[in-house]
Assembly symmetry: C2
């Protein structure tokens, strides 16, 4: 029997690649997505398509009302998504999002008897979010290994971040090698209901540049072309 | 202007005391409770009563479907609540619960500009849950201070556990001194809809013993008397 792993799956390019990498490593994959009040709801449709295409054992979409707290352009329609990179941590940062997502993954992993969680954070071509850095992930793993019955009983948890040191182009190359169909994914922070990307937000910019750098045709439909 | 704090408020005896202690320390208190699929739903009614009695600035009840993951007698009706203390971590343990609650508190605190979170964990008269221990709390705080924009910008977060080293009797004495009305609280894991306690679960046992040890009349209605 293969080992089980929980994969945080957003529906974007990075997490789809991570899921393919976890499969490649022979894990039985349990995908976890969140309906957290994000403005880009078509992201969840993408997560469903990716989970199906990569044949996960189970895909859970958990409702989580982060919009109730506000404080981010991704959950608060009153804060516009910026169309050019700014300085510092952008307004698309969602307070404590990865901590909340990883905490939920930890709970599900414990119930599943899984000792492995995969998350597609990246410290190279990323948007400057604090909860994507290696120090943060190491601290979460340390905390997780004090938090659970599983840990107390000797079954420790590993947080895998296979994209951490890869540039966007390298991520795309790896995903294509593993058969990921990136047409199924949605990266845009303000994709429309059909999943069509705006073409101008930071996430679109990173995606475009990644395909260009990889020398691969970008089949994404952008409402505003480059 | 007072500093703001987020207080995790379950509706039980411990968190009501913590809220009174945070008020005593001159914080503006923002209470956070979770409808997480717990079988003791009257706990949330108790949280509402306590939040009102102690005049919090705001009380949020966030829906969080931990029952979807299962794995605990508190969220899975198929697992009975034990009526006698067992060995090791009991089946009332909810996988990663405090990690999930603290992660949500961290998100709200960041939006509120709060640098203080209060949680009523206790390492003395407690049920043996791993996520109530001092090492765990220290590790969470360390992780939190790498996780957020606030931390990156120099506004660090402190996780306060003012009950950590107090026995149940000392907690009750402190609460009474601060004017907590414990008749408003519900500790029982399987309280009925009117909030009446079973009198036999581990949480009822700890509560009874606490009042007895404090030499204070226990005005809790127990369906099964001692």
């Amino acid at each position: 029997m293969n080992k089980r792993a929980v994969i945080l799956l957003s529906g974007g390019l990075d997490s789809a690649t991570v899921l393919a990498m976890a499969r490649q490593r022979q894990y039985d994959c349990y995908a976890l997505s969140f309906a957290y009040g994000q403005r880009h709801g078509s992201e969840l449709d993408a997560a469903r398509r990716v989970a199906q295409a990569l044949a996960v054992c189970e895909h859970r979409i958990v409702h989580l009302d982060l919009a109730a707290f506000g404080g981010s352009a991704l959950t608060d329609l009153a804060i516009p998504v910026p169309e050019a990179p700014g300085k510092g941590i952008p307004v698309t940062y969602v307070p404590a999002r990865n901590t909340i997502f990883l905490a939920m993954a930890l709970g599900w992993a414990e119930v599943l008897g899984a000792q492995d969680i995969f998350i597609g954070v990246n410290a190279v071509d990323y948007s400057g979010y604090p909860d994507c850095r290696p120090d943060y992930i190491a601290a979460f793993q340390h905390m997780a290994n004090l938090a659970t019955r599983a840990a107390v009983e000797g079954r420790s948890m590993t947080i895998h971040t296979p994209l951490m040191t890869l540039g966007k182009a390298a991520i795309i190359e790896e995903g294509l090698r593993l058969g990921v169909d990136y047409r199924l994914t949605v990266s845009c922070y303000q994709a429309d209901e059909q999943g069509r990307a705006c073409g101008v937000c930071d996430s679109c910019r990173l995606r475009r540049e990644g395909f260009a750098a990889a020398g691969v045709a970008d089949q994404t439909y952008y409402r505003v072309s480059a």
